[in-house]
Symmetry: C2
Subunit: 118 residues, 2 copies
DNA sequence: CGGAATCCTTTCGGATACTG
DNA sequence: CAGTATCCGAAAGGATTCCG
């Protein structure tokens, strides 16, 4: 196996980093860590996300094997999304990012004010 | 202090999440964790980044107080960037993301193949 | 309900040229 | 060297409509 390195422009690992280092991905994986959720509930929790973007985000996560899609043969349809074992290994790191943003936003806002005042 | 929550559409913490949950930010903070670096060296290490984007990324990080900019009064100019104490608290989480991408890319690539084969 | 399709606007990000 | 300014194409992402 090659020495994967996100710093190398053509290394495939960078495509994976680009996908996980993303606002919506972080929020989705953080929320899905609490258990499987149906599309509509996820959309409600990720306040402000459009249906299109949520669909694309989930499809990408499914393609990379981070999320499984459970389709129930009902009408109206019910589709649930759940983290795979691989996706679970990302839950803590991405939840940590969300927490960081929440825990440090006060300081960040202050820094922005100081910066903009110059 | 309010209950900051990245899931809330208008919560300021989401603007911070959007900035740190980003490919170039993750790579820059990961690299800067090894110590201060001048602009050109950073640009070399973040293979493929354009000068414009690196400048913008660093200015945003500086504005949020994650990075300090050291300008040396020399000619040709020498400018170095360094993580602040606040930025240092992000180093481990973001380095973890880079590492995750490198460590799991083989599995991810396999998952993509399987998915695309359908 | 969970999308897919379409349209449109905004943002991202690269290339180039120029400057202190 | 480390930017800044400008231009442009590509991609992200929202709104709306329609369908099984």
């Amino acid at each position: 196996m090659p020495a994967w390195n996100v710093l190398a422009a053509t290394c495939p690992s960078r495509t994976s980093l680009a996908r996980i280092a993303n606002k919506w991905t972080a929020m989705a994986v953080a929320v899905l860590g609490n258990g499987r959720l149906r599309f509509g509930d996820l959309k409600t929790q990720l306040e402000g996300i459009s249906g299109k973007v949520l669909t694309e985000t989930l499809r990408d996560l499914e393609r990379d094997g981070l999320v499984t899609r459970h389709v129930h043969a009902e009408v109206p349809p019910r589709v649930e999304y759940e983290l795979t074992p691989l996706g679970l290994t990302l839950h803590e790191p991405l939840l940590a990012l969300c927490r960081w943003a929440e825990e440090h936003i006060a300081e960040v806002l202050e820094n922005r004010e100081n910066y903009d005042a110059r």
